[in-house]
């Protein structure tokens, strides 16, 4: 398929001073700067523990952000992921109930539920023409209601075998991080090399034009929402395997809804849709994780982290906007 596509049809952002290079440049700079700062206090940032820390932090956010990228590329966004992660961790852990034999059914059930929520989001956005902000906020509130009603704390139990997913590692690299990166690779392939992936960009660029060009825009939007929710479901399963049980507020406590949007936008994807990609998103996730880890090593209070994160987000997007204007 990719052979038949002319260069002009490629996602436009690749020609517009690729922000991905800038993101990874910033990441390297940050790693160097962080290493120097930590070294000045007599520590080492990128030792085994540091790398492990950065990658573990990146895994859950990375999974959510990969899905969020799909939705944002179509010009929508998904605010329901944080509650969905909590819900999925519960579904997974309660279905497994400590029984290794139930792992596969539990995973399938969790992902099916996640896909159902995504389908609901997509249908409401595409068919009822509800603004994605409101539609997913509504879904988030509904899931929150269910969680508040039924749970007060952690529930369910994950079998020991399943916990290996969260804790096993090869050298300093966690297996789960590798799986996350593999998923990112798959998403990259989907977006850059397949027809439905191109349609995502087309819909995000201009939904009307895409429709007039013969793209079934409704289907594209629904697909994006389903993929996003499934990614959130995977994040929920990963967190369940880390925690050993399901926790209703595991997604919201970490603020994965706004955090994932921040990571995507930090990675150079336009919030209005149509430009960007998964490679940048992973860079954005790694930048956020590196910032966190560096501050932890430096012993900075967590409140300062929020301030820096906010400033970094605004500055990064302002720089992207300038870059686009100059062209």
């Amino acid at each position: 398929m990719s052979v038949a596509v002319e260069p002009g049809v490629r996602p436009q952002w690749t020609r517009l001073g690729n922000p991905v290079a800038a993101v990874y440049g910033a990441l390297v700079l940050l790693l160097v700067l962080g290493s120097v700062l930590v070294a000045m206090r007599g520590g080492v940032l990128l030792d085994q523990g540091g790398i492990l820390n950065i990658l573990t932090r990146s895994t859950a956010l990375g999974l959510v952000a990969i899905g969020q990228t799909m939705v944002i590329l179509t010009g929508k966004l998904d605010l329901s992921v944080a509650y969905l992660i909590g819900l999925c961790s519960l579904i997974g852990a309660e279905t497994m109930a400590g029984d290794p034999g139930m792992i596969l059914p539990a995973v399938l059930l969790t992902l099916a539920c996640a896909a159902g929520v995504g389908l609901l989001n997509g249908l409401v956005v595409a068919k009822l023409k509800v603004n994605a902000f409101i539609a997913t906020l509504g879904t988030a509130l509904i899931i929150r209601g269910y969680l508040e009603n039924g749970y007060t704390g952690p529930s369910g139990q994950v079998p020991r075998v399943f916990q290996h997913l969260g804790y096993d590692r090869i050298g300093p690299v966690p297996v789960s991080a590798l799986l996350m990166l593999a998923l990112a690779g798959l998403a990259w392939w989907f977006l850059a090399r397949t027809r439905p992936g191109y349609h995502l960009y087309a819909v995000g660029g201009d939904e009307e034009v895409a429709r007039f060009s013969g793209i079934r825009t409704d289907r594209v939007v629904i697909t994006a929402h389903v993929l996003c929710s499934v990614a959130a479901g995977l994040a929920g399963l990963f967190l369940a395997s880390r925690l050993g049980s399901g926790a209703p507020w595991v997604g919201t406590d970490a603020g994965y809804d706004l955090e994932s949007i921040a990571a995507v936008v930090l990675g150079g994807t336009l919030l209005a849709g149509g430009r960007g990609g998964v490679a940048g998103t992973i860079g954005g996730v790694l930048i956020l994780a590196t910032l966190d880890t560096t501050f932890d090593e430096l012993g900075v209070t967590p409140f300062f982290k929020d301030v820096v994160r906010g400033v970094v987000l605004i500055v990064a997007v302002a720089l992207y906007a300038r870059r686009r204007m100059r062209r």
Partner: protein, 332 residues
């Protein structure tokens, strides 16, 4: 757009902007239902208490309306409310004499945060969703960095009067100060939206390019909308601080609640549609709904689930009546 239709402009009759009628109908139903559900609502005092509870959200809705109708978002209001309350408590620290300068300071701080939001959005061309999300993080972090983790100090009695106390009126009983303040702000907002600046704000949300080509100061007006939103958060903080006292959670989730309220009022995300009265009616509807659910013994989990279903239904209903070609994105 109705506002650009010359025939409808000078009408004296208070016309309802589109999307206003449904929310008013729902509000009326809820108010009547309240009278049946709870004995407290058999006299005006019950409704005044409802208004008093709803006043902060309604005032926030006015500010958020300005931003949304001109095509933006303001996600920073929740953390701004928290920040204002915490700052006021720290500065006053129980000292009655400090109230006089702290209130202007709080208002000024709100306006300043709005100004920064507006300038970054309009001059650096960062989408307002991102700007105000960043501002949310900065405010959250900065305030607790400054106070060292937990809010300290206390508000003075004078500061708390506006949110807590009232004055006696024959027939009505005690009218809270916050309701009086709310009425004044409502009148001001309606007058503002009927004037040239207000109409221009709606026009920017509808078609920014047209306003720019027509010689309108798009950047300046957009920034003004953010400043007004910041100010509304400051006023809401003064009321909430008086009403609920000092806590680090006072503004939690307010940003989403107020956007829900505005959208419930039929204001379209992306700008250009909806009236400020409807936005406030949306806020009051939301509060009335919560009160009703409370009276019916439904609380906690179901409350947010009901809220979720309602906003989706309300927006789906509004969208079904809108022509198909108005589906532009509004994320600037």
């Amino acid at each position: 757009m109705t506002t650009t239709d010359p025939a409808s402009r000078p009408s004296r009759l208070p016309r309802l902007a589109d999307g206003t009628a449904p929310v008013l109908a729902v509000l009326a139903v809820l108010l009547v239902a309240l009278a049946f559900a709870g004995p407290a609502y058999s006299e005006p005092a019950g409704y005044l208490a409802l208004l008093k509870r709803a006043a902060p959200l309604m005032i926030l809705a006015i500010g958020q309306y300005f931003v949304i109708v001109s095509g933006g978002f303001d996600l920073s209001v929740g953390s701004l409310v928290t920040a204002e309350v915490v700052i006021a408590a720290r500065l006053i620290d129980g000292d009655e004499a400090a109230t006089l300068w702290v209130i202007p300071f709080v208002l000024g701080f709100g306006a300043l945060v709005g100004l920064v939001n507006g300038l970054i959005t309009t001059r650096l061309l960062v989408p307002s969703f991102i700007v105000t999300l960043g501002m949310l993080l900065v405010l959250d972090g900065a305030v607790f960095l400054w106070t060292g983790g937990s809010p300290r100090g206390a508000l003075s009695e004078a500061f708390r009067t506006i949110g807590r106390e009232g004055f006696d009126v024959p027939l009505l009983g005690q009218v809270p100060w916050s309701v009086l303040l709310l009425a004044a702000l409502v009148a001001a907002a309606v007058l503002f939206m009927r004037g040239g600046t207000g109409r221009m704000l709606v026009a920017i949300g509808d078609n920014e390019t047209a306003v720019r080509l027509g010689g309108g100061h798009v950047e300046r007006l957009r920034t003004l909308a953010f400043v007004l939103s910041g100010l509304s958060a400051a006023v809401a903080a003064i009321l909430l601080g008086g009403f609920a006292g000092v806590s680090a959670q006072v503004g939690d989730g307010l940003e989403f609640r107020v956007i829900t309220a505005v959208v419930l009022g039929g204001v379209v995300l992306g700008g250009g549609r909806g009236s400020v009265v409807a936005a406030m009616a949306g806020a009051l509807t939301l509060e009335a709904l919560f009160s009703l659910l409370n009276l019916l013994g439904i609380s906690g989990g179901l409350e947010s689930a009901v809220q979720g279903v309602i906003i989706i239904a309300a927006v789906a209903y509004a969208a079904s009546g809108r022509s198909v070609f108005r589906t532009r994105k509004g994320t600037s």
